[in-house]
């Protein structure tokens, strides 16, 4: 039994979600965990990955075909490497969710999506219905193709290992798809999925401009800024801010929900946060039922007060 984790990266830096997936893989396969780094000009990433504690071997596939992680090109490579692995894992990010089901179908196996616990090498727990139920499933397939919910597996040590890097041959471009461009949000703030503190705004923020009230608080706390679907749909902030069932799943130490009523689809994305604060003018808002600390009132009055109080007490 051995596991292969597909690393997520942008050819320059490793995405932290990879470490959560490695943690899940270690629970399944112990010391027999290899990592695939597929990209273009990504040797630096492979060298970082080689230092992750507990990694047996790094497989490096460096080819233009893998530059942007196109599923049509990456999937055949992972399928080829499946010959020597019983478990294939990737983070349940938009990247992992994109190519892994393709891998599973090519191998004629079911994917086990978004696992939140490992019961045994063939049995896993996964949230369904926006996390309102937990399903324990046993896979009957010879190869387990798995995506990992990062928040459920504390990341392993990024250092301490010294795995060998082995080059693997490219499977080449499939010739079906082409990357054209990316418009990625640039931010000095931490990434949502790995932030220790998140402050999110909802419909109650009323406009995108008003998000600067959240940003000021975020900057004092070193927090990431998120949003509910309502705020994204209204065009206040870009899609990558969205926390929820179909957006990002987060579990920071502190989650501050501002002007968010608490639809189950939003709660699905943040209810595993350690401490939840809710600020809302409607005291009946469902968000208060799960909040550790609720503050009823006008957010446009509360946010400047919060900013001042945090500054004062720092």
């Amino acid at each position: 039994m051995s596991a292969l984790v597909v690393a997520e990266h942008d050819n320059a830096a490793l995405k932290p979600a990879t470490l959560n997936a490695v943690a899940a893989a270690t629970k399944i396969a112990g010391q027999d965990v290899d990592i695939l780094v597929a990209g273009k000009g990504c040797r630096a990433v492979a060298e970082v990955v080689a230092k992750i504690a507990g990694v047996r071997k790094v497989l490096l596939a460096d080819d233009a075909a893998y530059d942007h992680g196109l599923a049509e090109n990456v999937a055949p490579l992972v399928v080829k490497l499946a010959e020597s692995h019983s478990h294939l894992l990737a983070p349940a990010t938009t990247s992992g969710k994109n190519f892994m089901p393709r891998v599973a179908a090519l191998l004629d196996v079911m994917q086990i999506s978004d696992i939140s616990a490992v019961v045994s090498p063939d049995t896993f727990v996964r949230p369904i219905y926006a996390g309102n139920a937990l399903q324990t499933v046993q896979s009957k397939d010879p190869i387990k193709v798995i995506t990992v919910r990062g928040t459920a597996f504390p990341p392993g040590d990024a250092t301490g290992g010294s795995a060998a890097i082995e080059t693997v041959a490219s499977t080449g471009p499939a010739g079906l798809s082409e990357f054209l461009r990316a418009e990625l949000s640039k931010s000095e703030r931490p990434e949502l999925t790995s932030a220790r503190i998140i402050i999110s705004g909802g419909r109650g923020m009323q406009s995108g401009d008003n998000f600067h009230l959240l940003e000021k608080v975020a900057d004092i706390l070193g927090a990431a800024v998120g949003a509910s679907r309502a705020a994204v749909d209204a065009g206040f902030v870009p899609n990558d801010y969205q926390v929820g069932q179909t957006g990002k799943i987060v579990a920071p130490e502190l989650y501050i929900a501002v002007g968010i009523s608490g639809a189950i689809q939003h709660l699905a994305g943040m209810k595993d946060s350690k401490v939840i604060v809710a600020i809302n003018k409607d005291e009946e808002a469902p968000i208060f039922q799960i909040a550790d600390y609720g503050l009823v009132g006008d957010l446009f009055k509360i946010l400047p007060e919060l900013e001042a109080e945090l500054e004062r007490s720092q």
Partner: protein
């Protein structure tokens, strides 16, 4: 060109689900069922492509129990042309659904297949990707914008870092994200008209697909309940509690 849209019958997104006492699943008896919201977006997108003169016919497929016919009717009332119901009482997992859709697609030869990125019941997010793999077609998942021209689709995708645009060759499978469009409501005349639109029945046996589940559900449980509900009276009290009680700032 023909477009094929797959729609899933799921528990309505507004329903608070209940886990069965015997832990075998989620209570579906006497619960409101609706079309998976992402599939509604898929139907809407196909309609817009037809209105733009790109798509000539929209075929709607649903798979599962006899009542999935209602879900197909909803899509027909929105404006789709005809339906196909792959009827079975067996549990269908995404790999089986992808194989069944492939079999239907090989008969119908659509050039574009649009489906929701995930179903809000099992939250699997697999079927579209699996289908395109089985067909050897390209895929564009989590679409927020679709532009079709000269046998290609230019698709903008919602990704973790923002947006990404890819060009894919047709035929292809596209899965929809939330911001692709806002689905229309069916008008009463269109609901009446939809009753006369044809729905062709078929079965997994007729399509020659083995749908045996690969994942065995051992149990379904409720997650641990969160103990919340405490209120604070002021910003000062909040900051103090976060510092001294919760110790998170």
């Amino acid at each position: 060109m023909k477009a094929l849209v797959a729609v899933k019958r799921v528990i309505d997104y507004n329903v608070k689900i209940r886990v069965k006492a015997d832990k075998t699943g989620v209570e579906t008896a006497n619960v409101k069922m609706s079309m998976n919201p992402f599939d509604e977006i898929a139907v809407e997108e196909a309609l817009r492509l037809r209105e733009a003169g790109i798509v000539s016919e929209i075929i709607v497929v649903s798979l599962g129990v006899a009542q999935c016919q209602e879900t197909i009717r909803t899509a027909l009332a929105m404006g789709a042309d005809r339906g196909i119901l792959v009827e079975t009482n067996a549990e269908l997992q995404p790999l089986a659904v992808a194989k069944l859709l492939k079999a239907v697609i090989l008969q119908e030869n659509p050039e574009i297949v649009i489906i929701g990125k995930q179903a809000i019941d099992d939250d699997c997010n697999q079927t579209g990707q699996m289908l395109s793999a089985l067909l050897g077609w390209p895929q564009a998942t989590f679409a927020s914008k679709i532009k079709i021209s000269d046998g290609h689709a230019e698709v903008t995708r919602e990704v973790d870092g923002g947006l990404e645009t890819v060009a894919i060759k047709l035929p292809a499978v596209i899965t929809t994200d939330l911001r692709l469009n806002e689905p229309r409501y069916a008008s009463l005349p269109n609901i009446m008209k939809a009753k006369k639109k044809p729905i062709a029945p078929t079965t997994p046996e007729a399509l020659g697909v083995d749908v045996t589940p690969r994942l065995v559900v051992l149990k379904v449980e409720e997650p641990a309940k969160r103990q919340g509900g405490h209120k604070v009276g002021s910003v000062a009290e909040l900051v103090d509690k976060l510092k001294t009680e919760a110790r998170v700032i």
